[in-house]
Amino acid sequence: MSEDTLSVRNEMDIISVRGFGRNVAAQLGFGVVDQCRITTAISELARNIVVHGGGGSVTIKTIQNDKKGIEIICKDKGPGIRDMELALKGGFSTVGGLGIGLSGAKRLMDEFQITSFTGKGTTVMIRKWLK
């Protein structure tokens, strides 16, 4: 079991954190398509941290119950999400862009949890299990 927390402050960090996630996913035995899903989900959430959250961190860990999996926790101390329902619907963005970061990450992964407090920040946890 491994656990690493990487700081995410700028665009270059988005590239390194998703690269790190890809390596962990590959080592766990995820196939190319799942590696791509996981990497893309990390990229979307890491970009949210940089663009909306003013920086934060991404923790990538390997997990196990009866199966092995990967868990990614993305944290920021930004303004938080005021209308969660709208944000999860997709097509929603306060900065422009396609606004599919959150809903996209949710669709690409097996589990998705989000907690957000206005003025305090947002934490998103995603998981994917090896089939």
């Binding site: 665009e11 270059m12 988005i14 590239i15 998703r18 690269g19 890809r22 190319v32 398509v33 590696q35 791509c36 899903r37 990497t39 893309t40 990229s43 979307e44 970009r47 997709g90 862009g97 396609l98 599919i100 970061g101 809903s103 996209g104 669709r107 690409l108």
Partner: protein
């Protein structure tokens, strides 16, 4: 990081060989548009064979490069998307918003462009 923009016949070829930051993609878009203006290219091929991740920002950038290049008179085709990337993009929910012409590889992309330029018609998939 300087990405070469190659000219062949009357179109340009750009190949993404490394992962680009958002800023680098924006810079590349400007260089591509400058190069279209400078050369009067009528077509643009963007090769993304080497890209293992195409997130929504990259997808939106590709779409915007294609739109602006088309406005400048260069029809654009994106080639070489990896199957895993295509699958992920569809699941991400991008397909309906993405009006890009794509081809499996460089060769079919170039053929698609040549045909379209010759006939003056819009590019269509066969």
């Amino acid at each position: 990081m300087e990405i070469p923009i190659l000219k062949i016949e009357d179109f340009l070829i750009v190949s993404f060989q490394i992962e680009l930051s958002d800023h680098e993609i924006d810079m590349l878009r400007e260089s591509i548009l400058d190069k279209i203006k400078e050369t009067g290219a009528r077509g643009l091929v963007i090769d993304i064979t080497a890209l293992k991740t195409v997130d929504s920002f990259m997808a939106r950038s590709l779409s915007s490069i294609a739109d602006t290049a088309t406005l400048l008179g260069a029809r654009t085709v994106v080639v070489g998307m990896q199957p895993a990337v295509a699958l992920t993009l569809v699941e991400l929910g991008l397909r309906i918003k993405w009006k890009i012409i794509t081809a499996l590889n460089l060769e079919s992309g170039v053929n698609l462009l040549r045909k379209s330029l010759k006939s003056g018609k819009e590019m269509v998939h066969e």
